[in-house]
Symmetry: C2
Subunit: 147 residues, 2 copies
DNA sequence: ATACGTGCAAATACTTTGCAGGCTT
DNA sequence: AAGCCTGCAAAGTATTTGCACGTAT
């Protein structure tokens, strides 16, 4: 299922080759990001990080995320006025679907996605950098639960 | 060009019929939203509002936007860690393209959009509510300017 | 020794909320 | 008179920054 079993190594390598130091804190954040497909937010990452390194601070999480984002090793997902979510497993922009009830973000595979990118590139004179597609609704579990 | 010359009246009517009072402040916010296709943020709306009603407060803008959003009379666009943008002219979700340099949001017409919605609805068991598609890049003007 | 990184706390940015006074009906 | 609305200010949330100390090379 895991499309990329070496995200941990990849991210470590990229950090290092970009001139950043591989500290225990950064490695721990990378480890968390490389294993989680549930698009955690900084708070969640921080709470997981604290278990590994009890004295860390949220600032370290934010700083590490900023670096990884700049290196395109993590995808930042903005949604509503909530805190950002991060995807270190699949760092390239890809479609997401979000459940308004359980607040879960999931990946979505779309056959049309490739064609869509084509049409976008053809139909504007913009220099396209990224395409963000996100869908919101109610997931099957939440639909069937009595609310 | 303007697809909907009566947005002002429509929004006023919707407010009223939903049990909200049509105050001068709200009408002024609606007026601004109904005339602007440039997706203003609350600060921009507030600065325009102040010209019409010098004593208003940002809170009034936020409160009015919250109502209009709930009534689906305004579309809220989230982007990056910037303040939200609002579209009162076309309140249904539609694709946007954003220039990273001049920070302009523009609407984008896509032939595939209908098909995309179809595929999304067919390919998941979610109850779909909204589809947000936003593209980021550099607009033609900014591309040609010397930086 | 030097430069980089951490972690605390303060600062910032944006938005929401509480509440007293005012206006409308 | 009652209730909604405004506008101020305070609070809240998410994130960033400044800085002194620590650590690795």
């Amino acid at each position: 299922m895991n499309e990329n079993p070496n995200r941990f190594q990849q991210m470590c390598k990229k950090l290092k080759s970009s001139g950043y130091k591989l500290t225990p804190q950064r490695m721990a954040v990378i480890k968390i990001l490389s294993e989680r497909t549930d698009h955690p937010n900084p708070e969640k990452i921080y709470s997981l990080l604290k278990k590994l390194l009890p004295t860390t601070s949220p600032a370290t999480v934010y700083k590490t995320l900023a670096i990884l984002k700049k290196l395109d090793e993590v995808l930042e997902i903005q949604y509503s006025n909530q805190s950002n979510r991060y995807d270190g497993v699949k760092p390239a922009p890809h479609p997401h679907i979000y459940c308004k009830k359980c607040k879960k973000f999931s990946d979505l595979e779309l056959l049309l996605h490739g064609q869509l990118i084509e049409e976008i590139k053809d139909s504007t004179d913009y220099e396209i950098e990224s395409i963000y597609l996100s869908i919101e609704g109610i997931c099957p579990d939440c639909k069937s639960s009595v609310s």
